[in-house]
Symmetry: C2
Subunit: 354 residues, 2 copies
């Protein structure tokens, strides 16, 4: 016998479509009708609220199972005003540096029963803004952002309206907001000082685009460490720009082949480092190298690659924890947290000058 109270068994016609946008799924009203109780009673059972007799509860549960009811959280969200979701906007989900960061944010979100909506900005400020505002329109409870833009004034109304926001890896531009960063400056200084201590005087730096905060900080650390060692920096020794292998390869060639050839290189991030290693392997002329960011298998190359390691999972975890503290009602002034970096010597950074 067909149960006509079950919407799945109703005859569907086109006009019905608009009335039931969720593909004929049963609602609490359907469950209530079948169980012969009020809507609110179903709500109580579904949400585990007290004040329902065991017998009533049993009838409601039977009805839920029979109809295959699952609460529509879209409706719940609309009424409650909290979506229990947060947005994470980063440059590229697939980047080995951001992937563990993302996973760490997810774990913290999960502990707070919150879903994670992920988006890649592809290092494009417009795409970042578009994504962030789409997330705001969805009324995510909060945002964790690795910014591509350097102007976040577009976010001010959203933040004022209550969307908690924490920036990671790079600070916000033009607005005051929480930020969790690595000590890029200190890490870069330590790298260069290490090369100097191993006898190098002509040290090059190939970094990411100078408009990116981390790249600028690492360049600053490089310059300061050189100055502290009493070493002048030849203009040909620094090259900021995209991490495209062609660009990096050309910069390396110029530094090593010029009139003042460098004997050591400080690579500004993991992608630069990998390109440099690949190039050096092709050349067969090993030279001293320290890379910013650790990467898998760095220890298995020969020589092993000395790196300045960040802790991407800790960055993500700290950012997410800061976010949930804000969501729990902490209203202090925005603060900047800086995580330390660690030099891991593996051989390439300890080579003497040729």
């Amino acid at each position: 016998m067909i149960d006509r109270t079950c919407p799945a068994n109703r005859k569907t016609d086109v006009s019905d479509q608009s009335r039931r946008p969720y593909g004929n799924r049963p609602t609490m009203k359907d469950v209530a009708a079948r169980a012969g109780v009020g809507l609110k009673t179903v709500s109580r059972v579904v949400n585990g609220e007290p004040g329902v007799t065991p017998d009533t509860e049993r009838r409601v549960r039977e009805s839920i199972t029979a109809l295959g009811f699952r609460r529509n959280d879209s409706a719940r969200i609309l009424r409650k005003g909290r979506t229990s979701s947060i947005g994470l906007v980063l440059e590229d989900l697939a980047d080995p540096f951001y992937a563990p960061l993302s996973r760490a944010v997810e774990e913290v979100a999960r502990a707070h029963e919150t879903l994670l909506i992920n988006g890649s900005s592809a290092e494009d400020p417009e795409r970042e803004e578009e994504l962030v505002l789409a997330l705001c329109a969805r009324r995510v409870d909060g945002l964790v952002i690795i910014p591509a833009s350097d102007d976040h004034r577009y976010l001010e109304p959203e933040m004022a309206a209550g969307i908690a926001t924490v920036f990671v890896d790079r600070p916000a531009g033009q607005i005051d907001a929480d930020a969790v960063l690595s000590d890029n400056y200190g890490g870069a200084r330590a790298a260069v000082a290490h090369l100097v201590a191993h006898g190098h005087r002509r040290i090059g730096f190939i970094g990411d685009q100078a408009r990116i905060h981390t790249a600028a900080e690492r360049l600053r650390g490089y310059r300061d460490a050189m100055a502290e060692a009493g070493l002048a920096v030849h203009p040909s020794w620094t090259a900021m720009g995209s991490t495209d292998p062609g660009r990096v390869g050309a910069a390396l060639g110029a530094m090593r082949g010029g009139p003042e050839p460098v004997t050591a290189l400080f690579a500004g991030n993991n992608r630069v480092t990998v390109t440099v290693v690949r190039r050096a392997a092709a050349d067969g002329r090993p030279f001293a190298l320290i890379g910013f960011d650790d990467f898998e298998l760095a220890d298995l190359l020969s020589p092993g690659i000395t790196v300045i390691a960040q802790d991407p999972a800790a960055l993500g975890r700290t950012a997410a924890q800061t976010l949930f503290r804000r969501l729990a009602g902490q209203h202090e002034v925005p603060k900047r947290v800086e995580l330390t970096t660690r030099l891991i010597p593996r051989g390439s950074g300890e080579l003497p000058p040729e």
Copy 2:
């Protein structure tokens, strides 16, 4: 002068909180009141619908800007019945194999103006189910799943209710559903045949847990290739289990130190391969090795690591495209797509027996 029509300027009291769950954000009603027009007219302007005079539109836009209105998509979603979001459930966002897959899914979703909700199952069937059902409660339009579970009957009511679902990397268990897979069997066979062609007779296989589809298929490929070469497989030559380095290291030690020591190894996935490479480097006894899955820097190790490469981005892209085709109304029977793998010789797989 303070504009009392702007909700942000209203005096807030506790009772007001419950009436305005979205932190006093202006709604279309507020915009309409300030502009002196009807609610529907605001809706028309916000959604770019025709039939509004330029003058009216101007007044509405002024009102939107003045109040800082942004449409609440939670409400829109509830009414429309499509959330324009899809869920992606995988083992671990941070895994170098899944990260590009995830990014590819995101790109396809973006092209369809759809947001991506990401979740890691941590290879735990219960956690997978919990996550997937939470996404269903949010009424995502579709799901892309790399399953940890081998029984997906829990998804049947959701799929029947219209949530499109595509499985990637591994097929669904106990239900009929679209799946996009790699040719694990063929890839494994090719790897073993390659080792045989280079003179090996005693070849080991260290794989992931046998209950995982990809691991089982690769084992089957290994066995068939050995049989085709007329080689019997000694029981100590296969070891299925977790990818924990301790387990893999022990398995390797047993295979190489036993009474029938292997001269070559086929490693069942990227994590096994990395552990084996690390172990081999520590031993200083190189041996022939082919790994399933390519990985960054595999070409820079010495010898370079010969691999069976999959295309994780293509897996993700194909799965997402299949999903959106279903969402567009394609109603054929579920189908299984298998992507080919590619053997990339780099040296380690071409070493002769010791």
